[in-house]
C-alpha cells in the first residue's frame, strides 16, 4: 500500500471513530458527529460569518508570526554568535520562556487597552522566546570551517549571511515555523476571546455561551483545514526546494 493510501485510510478511520463516538457514547447535542459538523460548516460558510472571522484570525496569526520570527531570528542570531549578548540576555530569555501566555495577554490589555496592536503584540511576545532559543541553537551549530572559508575569500557580510549562514539555519527556522503556527493560533484564540469582538476565538466564546458545540467544532476545523493547507501547499514545497541539494 502506498504512503498516500495509509494516510487516507488513517484519516477515514478518525472520521468513523468520531461518528461512532458521537452516536453510540455521547449525545449528538454534546458531541455532534462529522456529518452534523460538516453541515453546520457549510451553513456558516455560506450564510454565517465564518469566512470573515477566519480571515480576521488568519491575519492576526500572520502578523504575530512575522513579528515573532523576525525579532526572534535577529536576537537568536546575535545571542548564538556573541557570547556577551548571550550572557546579557540569557536570564531574560528564561524569564520570558516561562511567562504564562495568559499573563502577557491580560497585562497587554490592561496596559495598552483592548486594541488590535495590543492583541498582536501579546501573541508575538509569547512566541519570540521560543524562536530565539531555536535560532540560538542553530547559530551555535554553524560550521566554523565554512565561516573561515567565507572570510578568506572575502565574501562580505551580506553574502556570508545569505549564502553561508542562513542555509545552515533553515532547518531550525522550519521547525520554528511549524511549532510557531500551531502555538500562535492557539494563543490568538485566547486573545480574541478576552478582548476582541471578531475572529474565531470570539465566535467560539459566543457559541460556548450558547452551548452550540457543533458550531464550535465547525469553526475549529475550518482553521485546522487552513493550517493543513499551508503545510501541504506552502511549507512542504518550500522545504523540498530548500533541501534539493541533500543526498
Amino acid at each position: 500500500m502506498t504512503t498516500f493510501g495509509v494516510r487516507l485510510l488513517s484519516f477515514l478511520g478518525l472520521i468513523v471513530i468520531w461518528e461512532l463516538a458521537s452516536t453510540l457514547i455521547a449525545s449528538p447535542r454534546i458531541f455532534p458527529g462529522p456529518i452534523v459538523v460538516a453541515t453546520l460548516f457549510a451553513v456558516e460558510f455560506q450564510h454565517g460569518g465564518l469566512p470573515h472571522h477566519l480571515a480576521i484570525t488568519m491575519a492576526r496569526v500572520l502578523a504575530s508570526f512575522c513579528i515573532a520570527m523576525s525579532f526572534g531570528t535577529v536576537i537568536g542570531l546575535s545571542m548564538g554568535r556573541y557570547k556577551l549578548v548571550d550572557a546579557l540576555f540569557d536570564g531574560w530569555l528564561i524569564f520570558f520562556l516561562n511567562l504564562p501566555a495568559l499573563v502577557v495577554i491580560v497585562l497587554a490589555y490592561v496596559w495598552f487597552g483592548l486594541s488590535e496592536s495590543a492583541a498582536i503584540g501579546a501573541v508575538a511576545i509569547n512566541k519570540i522566546p521560543s524562536v530565539i532559543a531555536t535560532v540560538r541553537e542553530g547559530t551555535r551549530a554553524i560550521d566554523r570551517n565554512l565561516t573561515e572559508m567565507a572570510h578568506v575569500y572575502r565574501l562580505g557580510w551580506r553574502r556570508t549571511l545569505t549564502k553561508v549562514v542562513m542555509p545552515q539555519l533553515i532547518p531550525y527556522l522550519l521547525v520554528s515555523t511549524r511549532t510557531g503556527l500551531s502555538l500562535i493560533w492557539k494563543i490568538v484564540l485566547v486573545v480574541e476571546m478576552l478582548g476582541r469582538s471578531d475572529g474565531i476565538g470570539f465566535q467560539i466564546h459566543t457559541y460556548f455561551q450558547l452551548f452550540d458545540v457543533g458550531r464550535i467544532l465547525a469553526y475549529s476545523i475550518a482553521f485546522i483545514v487552513v493550517v493543513q493547507g499551508i503545510e501541504w501547499g506552502l511549507l512542504i514545497p518550500i522545504e523540498n526546494h530548500l533541501n534539493r541539494w541533500r543526498r
Binding site: M149, V152, W245
Partner: protein, 242 residues
C-alpha cells in the same frame, strides 16, 4: 603576486582545560614572488596553523607576517569546504561574484579541472577527489596573489592523488602564483616545489631549507624525482645536525 615574509616568534594554542600548547616557535622565512614553496614536516607540527595565520584566520600570535599590499588569497583547505547547498559552478562563482571580469573564468577552470559535466551537481554527490578539484578551481578563480594548499591529496588513493598532483602542476604552470603547499609526502614536495622547508616536530621550528633545481615540466620520464625524494627523506630522518 607578492613577496611573503613570515616571522612568527610564537603561536600558542589555549586548550580547553586551561593548558597552553606552544605550536610554533621562532619560525622565520621569506617566499619570493612566484615561488612554489613546500612546508614539509610530521603531522601536528603547526603547518596548517602557519597557513591559517597567513590567510588571516589563525587568531592571535606573537610576530608578524608581511605581505605586500592587500593580497587576494586562494586557499585549498584540507577538507574541501564547499557549500553543500550550492552547485559546483555556484560554489566557484560565489567567490568572484563581485568581480565580473573574473566570472568569465569560471567555466574555463571547470574545464581545466575536468568537471564541466558536473557543473550543476551538488557537492554531496561528488567523490572526495572531485570535491578537491572544485576547491582547487575555486582557489585559482580569484587570481590569487598567494595560493595556500593544505595537503590537498591526503586520503585519496594513489592513482587519484597522482592525477590531482599532475592537474595542480599543470594549473600552476599555466597560472603561476606565489604558493605555499603543506604536505608530509616527499614525492609531492619534490615534484611540485621550487623549495622545501623542513619543520621539526611541535613546536615547529625551521630545520632545513632546500632548493629543488629540477627542470620543469617535471613529468615522470626519468626517475630523478623519485631519487631526490628518497634522498631527502633519508636526510630528514637523520638527527638534527646543528
Amino acid at each position: 603576486m607578492s613577496d611573503v615574509v613570515v616571522d612568527i616568534k610564537s603561536k600558542i594554542f589555549n586548550a580547553e582545560n586551561g593548558h597552553t600548547l606552544p605550536v610554533i616557535r621562532d619560525v622565520r622565512f621569506q617566499v619570493k614572488s612566484g615561488q612554489f614553496v613546500c612546508l614539509f614536516g610530521p603531522s601536528g607540527t603547526g603547518k596548517t596553523t602557519m597557513l591559517n595565520l597567513i590567510a588571516g584566520i589563525g587568531g592571535d600570535f606573537d610576530g608578524r607576517i608581511d605581505i605586500l599590499g592587500s593580497p587576494t588569497v586562494g586557499y585549498v583547505f584540507q577538507e574541501p569546504r564547499l557549500l553543500p547547498w550550492l552547485t559546483v559552478r555556484q560554489n566557484i562563482a560565489l567567490v568572484v561574484a563581485d568581480h565580473p571580469d573574473l566570472a568569465a573564468d569560471v567555466d574555463e577552470l571547470l574545464r581545466a579541472v575536468g568537471l564541466t559535466e558536473f557543473a550543476d551537481t551538488y557537492p554531496e554527490r561528488l567523490s572526495l577527489g572531485m570535491a578537491r578539484r572544485v576547491a582547487i578551481a575555486r582557489a585559482f578563480v580569484v587570481k590569487p596573489d598567494i595560493l595556500l594548499l593544505d595537503e590537498p591529496f591526503v586520503s585519496l588513493d594513489a592513482e587519484n592523488a597522482m592525477r590531482l598532483r599532475k592537474l595542480l602542476g599543470d594549473l600552476w604552470t599555466s597560472r603561476p602564483t606565489t604558493t605555499l603547499f603543506v604536505t608530509h609526502d616527499m614525492r609531492d614536495a619534490v615534484e611540485l616545489a621550487d623549495r622545501i622547508l623542513f619543520f621539526s616536530p611541535r613546536p615547529a621550528r625551521l630545520e632545513r631549507d632546500v632548493t629543488i633545481a629540477l627542470p620543469r615540466p617535471r613529468n615522470n620520464v626519468d626517475d630523478s624525482i623519485e631519487k631526490l625524494a628518497r634522498e631527502l627523506e633519508r636526510n630528514s630522518a637523520l638527527p638534527n645536525q646543528d
